[in-house]
Amino acid sequence: MTVIHESIKDDTAAKMKARDVSVYYGDKKAIDDVSIDISPDYVTAFIGPSGCGKSTYLRCFNRMNDTIPIARVTGRIELDGENILDDTMDVVQLRARVGMVFQKPNPFPKSIYENIAYGPKIHGLGDKKADLDVIVERSLTRAGLWEEVKDRLEDSGTALSGGQQQRLCIARAIAVDPEVILMDEPASALDPIATAKIEELIDDLSGRYAIVIVTHSMQQAARVSQRTAFFHLGKMIEYGPTSDIFTNPIEQRTQDYITGRYG
């Protein structure tokens, strides 16, 4: 079972609580009874070798696994006390509250402005152009992109550089005013400078949003997160404060992974 460090057992202010969540792809069990709390007070990082299930687990929190026909999720994930895995849960509302940023930047083939305004429009957050203008500027500013693109909002989002595209995607997620932002290896397709900008941005955004980041870079987890969960073969092996996980892991497998013995 999961080893949870003593120091975080009393955390109470959880935004999302996952309990005994398992994911099956057909008959294959990809995630085995994993429980965790997500809070806006800190950035949570999921680390582990490729294929350990960390991305699959992340996608449970906004039910993106629904788009995979053979995937089945069991257990319970609460968002402010409400079980989001329940059939009665409206995934459209859920995803407005729990945003997501993907591994590869995926801006829509629309203008920068339209990329940001898309979410607010479909959720009816701003009916007037003036409202949308405010939302677009605020989102881009928070994503640290406003100064770079304010003079070319009508250019295509796909014309930006990779790092800018990824910040555009973060701005797009912010625009619908989510409470939680899930990031699935958001910097793995970017160069070191763009990566540094994304990491800085994550730092700025934490506190306002509950952020969960999946990463295969242990340095990145160490730099941006305050809580780290180590996954291996579909199980969560160890969960604790990031500093403890990296300096003083309890489990031998965690120790082996962070010292580079496998993975």
């Binding site: 829509f108 083939p109 898309y118 479909i122 997620a173």
Partner: protein, 461 residues
């Protein structure tokens, strides 16, 4: 000397050259196994074979045109030709009879006078056929020897062969382009003749269409050649009624198949839909004439339109629309399916519903393919003939009422070309003018559509 035998000879010689070239290249390799050859033996083999086959084939093509002329010339130069009648038509027929008899295609000659020409023909034919064989072998040998001598360890046979492949591909693509130009040129030629008899103003802006192929060609009645009713019929049936049916149904079925359908269902429905495209249009014509048109008439009568006819633009247009659903849906299906899954995920992740994702993200990204499909469908509908002949009549009629008879440009082209008029009568020539206009309109449509797509496309890569 039949070309088939010559071609077989060319292939046989080519094979011999192929084997010889390869053997020579092999011997180089055996002689110095350490040396790294610049081309593998197979390329030397192909090099020699190409140098034999291509010149020989070119010669055969040339010879099959030139040889009969030479034969005829030598016959005319013979003593027997002196007895030929001087009248052109008779002279030709004597020659043709003698030739047929000489080749063994006819048992004998009909005109006794031609009898004397048979023997000179036989002689000339056998002489030139021998010359043809000798030249074939000479050319094959020349090409083979020249290329065989160039086969050396340091000879870059591979680049030469690759170049030959490129030229073959280039010629293949030129055939299609040149055909288009040829079609265009022939249309222009006949159209100019037509406009020499009927004024373009009458043709393009007149509202009455009723050419009379039996009238005096020297004084064509320009007011009978007004093509507006045909253009209108074509647009009304092919581009309006058919598209009102085909575009929504085609797009919706594409969206259902790519976004909603179970993969197992899709595996059945998609091929079934594509079978629709393979049904001969005559069969659609039956369906339109025997089932749809009477049903529309009955429905019209039932709601109180007493003068509805059994042949209607609506019947033809609706059936045509059904016929082209597969064109629209299959192209739209492919281009929607080609939009990266990450676009869809990105939209879902913001909380967009399935239909919002489709209309606002997938659809704009797939637009170029969708427009291409619609363009293809429009061209197909405008060019369609059989359904209109069977369900919407062949009589021109300028009307906005879809329940009336109507006809299209293509139907009139067929009617004019299969009529009894001679080829220099304006009624027959009008078919070319109609074809020319059709050609120009589709060209412009395609051009405009390409520009529109370029302007509005949302490129995702």
């Amino acid at each position: 000397m039949s070309p088939i035998i010559l071609i077989l000879i060319a292939i046989g010689l080519g094979l011999a050259g192929w084997l010889a070239g390869r053997a020579k290249a092999w011997s180089f390799q055996k002689a110095s196994p350490q040396a790294r050859p610049v081309a593998r033996p197979i390329y030397h083999a192909w090099y020699v074979a190409i140098w034999i086959v291509v010149p020989v084939l070119a010669f055969i093509m040339l010879w099959s045109v030139v040889a009969p002329q030479l034969v005829t010339q030598s016959v005319l130069a013979s003593d027997a030709a002196a007895s030929l009648p001087s009248f052109g038509f008779e002279r030709e027929s004597w020659l043709a009879e003698a030739r047929a008899a000489a080749y063994g295609n006819a048992p004998g000659v009909f005109n006794g006078g031609a009898e004397a020409l048979v023997e000179p023909y036989r002689e000339a034919i056998s002489r030139y056929s021998t010359i043809g064989y000798v030249l074939t072998f000479l050319i094959a040998f020349g090409g083979g020897a020249w290329s065989f001598l160039r086969v050396r360890p340091d000879f870059h046979a591979r680049t030469k062969v690759e170049r030959a492949v490129m030229i073959v591909l280039l010629i293949a693509s030129l055939v299609a382009i040149l055909t288009t130009f040829g079609i265009f040129a022939s249309l222009v030629f006949e159209t100019v003749r037509f406009f020499g008899m009927v004024s373009p103003i009458d043709f393009l802006f007149g509202t009455f269409w009723g050419p009379d192929p039996m009238s005096n060609p020297a004084s064509p009645e320009g007011d009978r050649y007004g093509a507006i009713p045909l253009f209108w019929g074509t647009i009304f049936i092919g581009a309006i009624i058919a598209m009102i049916v085909a575009i929504p149904l085609g797009l919706m079925s594409a969206i259902y198949l790519t976004q909603y359908a179970d993969p197992r269902l899709r595996a059945w429905v998609k091929p079934a839909l594509e079978i629709l495209a393979g049904v001969p249009t005559v069969v659609y014509g039956y369906f339109a004439a025997l089932t749809v048109a009477p049903a529309i008439r009955d429905a019209a009568v039932a709601v109180g339109i007493s003068n509805a006819s059994t042949e209607s633009a609506l019947a033809a247009g609706v059936v045509m629309g059904v016929m082209i659903i597969p064109f629209v849906s299959s192209m739209a299906d492919d281009s929607i399916a080609a939009v990266p899954g990450s676009m869809r995920d990105g939209s879902y992740a913001i909380g967009a519903t399935k239909s919002e994702t489709i209309t606002r993200v997938l659809f704009p990204a797939a637009l170029p393919g969708i427009v291409a499909g619609v363009m293809l469908a429009v061209s197909r509908a405008i060019g369609e003939t059989m359904i209109v002949v069977m369900a919407a009549s062949t009589a021109a009629n300028l009307s906005a009422n879809p329940l009336e008879r109507m006809t299209t440009v293509t139907v009139q082209i067929v009617k004019m070309l299969t009529g009894e008029g001679s080829f220099d009568h304006p009624a027959t020539l009008s078919a070319f003018a109609l074809g020319f206009v059709l050609f120009l309109v589709t060209l412009v449509l395609n051009f405009v559509a390409l520009r529109v797509v370029k302007r509005f496309r949302e490129a995702y890569d």
